[in-house]
Amino acid sequence: MKLPSLRDVATEARLLLIGIPVFLWTMIPIYHMFLFAISPKEDAFSGKLWPDHPTLHNFEIVFKQQHYFLRDFYVQFWNSTVIAVSVGVLTLFIATAAAFSISRLKVPGGRAVLNLALFTYFIPAAFLAVPMYRTMGNYGLLNNHWSLILAMVTIASPYAIWVLKQASDKLPVELDEAAVMDGATTLQIFRLVYLPLMMPSLVAIGTYAVLLAWNEYLYAFLLLSNDRDITLPVALGNFLAADDSPWELLMTTGFIYALPPAAVYYAFRRYMVGGLTAGAVKS
């Protein structure tokens, strides 16, 4: 048996010296949130690393909507879900059609549209938010879920089109030609040849759009304001309106809100990383 050399031990120690701070840095804010979620109010404010009496009571309060700030919890959860799924579906529809048109049908001016989309992708979302807010007012869509859905589709589509266009450029052109020989119409090529081959990219882009919409705070808080119309992140922000905010309930709701996107992310990580190499996902 060979004992590890001194050099190996030193290397391992140096790696640990990096790894441990990285672990702590990553986990502390998340652990702090979790700690609040399982702590009664007195423990939460005492600065302990583990509560004396860990409890699920906070979750019970949230799920039974037993607090002023939580009275519309289920409605808001539902709003978040509907909006995220709608953004995912609409973005997929718009971006797939556009990518097929630009990449496979070589529509005149397609290159210019792609450049416009790329340009939109690089404009910081917070800058577009100001005129977007006013525009939605002009369209009479403020406080309507469509305003948030359409705004998020606008933000998600450019990256979606770009990634899907890159992916569809890689499909061999002979496939389309063979289908045309067999007498397939354009729509049949789209449905029967193009969509099945693009599936992995479509999963990645759908996930991207759903997560983007679920996580969005700024646009949601500008465009929606009625308690029964807002999404969960806006409701979380509203907790801060009071001086004596129930922080343990805020963190519990935040924890529940953070679980679905984290689960989706890890479930689709394989696809997401594939999408990543095609470019850069907006953080």
Binding site: P29, M33, L105, P261, V273
Partner: protein, 290 residues
């Protein structure tokens, strides 16, 4: 390339159909939904916003508003110092995560968490940790030293530093991941050859890693700078722009004007950022649309 359509889908009228193949007609139809979204929610808002910001008096008002000057400086600090620190750490950590160890693989799965979870609850969690009376950090400072900790978010410099830290916490995993893919793309033979020649750690980085990664690194840095201009959450949810509106950045300042019903000022503040944003965007488009 001609794609035949069934008869009922053919477009009538000679001028259009004589110039366009049926496939191109379908191309236009399929492109239309995005064009509509683009016209209604990008072109119209931007044009309308620029029209609102046309009066020179807006820029005089901005020039005379000390909060605007402060926000511009804060934004520069955020971008020039914050982003470069973040990218240097990401470059360093990409080397760490490229090591072949089981525990490092597991750590990399955990390391992605800040990017995978929404920013609102985690930023609020940090906000409470920094609470001077009840927060965990000052609690430990007190029990270790017996002194009261600083009033973190009440000092503009510390508060802005914390906002930058929150931003780094959130987006570091993403950039590290991108740089890891860059590192893994480097041929392993080069490192083995360098090993044989007895190259030091620094020489390997300086002569192999950096030359193959510098384009990616610069692209990532510029991209991160553009996007960080739009980072509203890190500042707004942590400090709310306070104390005394001293920690605003351009992203939160625009929203502040909007909330005060000064839409033309909000647009003007964004227009002021354009001379910096547009060259960066142009440069990025050149790089990416090759």
């Amino acid at each position: 390339m001609a794609i035949t359509l069934s008869g009922d889908q053919a477009i009538p009228g000679p001028p259009l159909s004589s110039r366009l193949t049926p496939a191109q007609v379908w191309g236009i139809i399929l492109l239309a939904p995005y064009l509509l979204v683009f016209l209604a929610f990008v072109v119209y808002p931007v044009g309308y916003g620029l029209w609102l910001a046309r009066a020179p008096s807006n820029y005089v008002a901005l020039y005379n508003d000390p909060i605007f000057a402060r926000a511009a400086v804060n934004t520069l600090i955020f971008l020039v110092i914050g982003i470069n620190i973040k990218m240097l750490i990401a470059l360093f950590l990409s080397g760490f995560f490229a090591q072949q160890r089981t525990w490092i693989k597991w750590l990399s799965v955990i390391f992605i968490l800040p990017w995978a979870v929404p920013s609102i609850p985690t930023i609020l969690s940090v906000r409470f940790m920094l609470n001077p009376e009840w927060g965990m950090i000052n609690h430990y400072i007190f029990s270790l030293t017996g002194d009261d900790g600083p009033n973190w978010l009440n000092d503009p410099t510390v508060a802005l530093t914390m906002a930058i830290a929150v931003h780094i916490w959130k987006s570091l995993p993403f950039w590290t991941l991108i740089l890891i893919t860059g590192r893994l793309a480097i041929s392993h033979d080069l490192f083995e050859a360098a090993e044989v020649d007895g190259a030091s750690w620094w020489q390997k980085f300086r002569f192999i890693t950096w030359p193959s990664m510098q384009t990616l690194y610069v692209t990532c840095t510029l991209l991160s700078m553009i996007w960080t201009l739009g980072d509203f959450n890190s500042v707004y949810l942590l400090t709310g722009g306070g104390p005394a509106d001293l920690t605003h950045v351009l992203a939160t300042l625009g929203i502040r004007y909007l909330r005060l019903d000064q839409l033309s000022l909000a647009m003007a503040s964004i227009v002021c950022a354009m001379p910096f944003v547009l060259p960066l965007v142009y440069f990025m488009m050149k790089r990416l649309s090759r």
